[in-house]
Amino acid sequence: MDAERARRLEELYHSALEHEQGGRAAFLRGACGSDPVLKT
């Protein structure tokens, strides 16, 4: 994982926490887009 991906992963983690449990999965599906590494 490169530095840019690492930075995005961290951001996603914090943003996802701000979403309610129910909306979190949908948020992540949208935010990860087609990046397979972020999706795992």
């Binding site: 994982m1 530095a3 690492a6 961290e10 914090h14 590494v37 795992t40």
Partner: protein, 198 residues
């Protein structure tokens, strides 16, 4: 003075700590081996007394070393935070060296377990295998240097959020965020889930 093998007194060690806090890097150079020796001695004494595979209380160890070396009435809370920060880093090395040592392996080996404070739980079990954690933390540090320092300070030294913030010259809010993220990352890495641990 360099090369001196004499053990400094409590007053001297306390002065070194205060001087380092005021930006004197030479004071840190003198202080480091003193603290490391003491941590080493205490950790080994603890491990020698017990059966292999028993649990080591990192926070209690650092506390004991602090009380032995420092005149606690002569220092500020910032000095204390700096002492615990340096001890936390040294503690990680002391414990991993010990876990790898032949001496320990000969005695039956097994994983060196470290005990985590309730508030610092990193893994589902209360105890974590020190070598597995060290390895995961090294991988984490390659991607997230500051965040990994937060783990080192909180985990190995038992620093509070405010103290860790002081030691890293950052805000308590950042420390809290970093800690939360680091725990999630490490938990996943240590649980051996698939993926590359990212």
């Amino acid at each position: 003075m360099p090369g001196s093998s004499e053990i400094p007194s409590k007053v001297e060690v306390t002065q070194l700590l205060k001087a380092w806090g005021q930006g004197d890097d030479r004071a840190l150079e003198r202080l480091t081996p003193v603290v490391e020796d003491e941590l080493h001695r205490m950790a080994h004494r603890c491990m020698a007394r017990e059966n292999p595979g028993h649990t080591l209380q990192t926070t209690a160890l650092v506390n004991e070393v602090y009380l032995r070396l420092i005149d606690i009435h002569a220092v500020t809370w910032q000095d204390r935070a700096h002492f615990f920060a340096m001890s936390a880093r040294l503690m990680r090395r002391v414990l991993t060296d010990f876990a790898r040592s032949r001496n320990y392996q000969k005695r039956g080996g097994g994983a060196v377990q470290v005990s985590l404070d309730e508030g610092l739980l990193l893994v589902p079990e209360k105890n974590a295998d020190i070598l597995a954690l060290d390895e995961a933390l090294t991988r984490f540090a390659a991607l997230y240097p500051r965040q990994s320092q937060v783990v080192e300070l909180r985990f190995f030294g038992g620093l509070e959020v405010e103290e860790a913030a002081e030691a890293l010259k950052t805000s308590p809010v950042t420390v809290k965020r970093d800690w939360r993220f680091a725990k999630a990352w490490l938990l996943r890495a240590l649980s051996g889930e698939k993926g590359d641990g990212c």
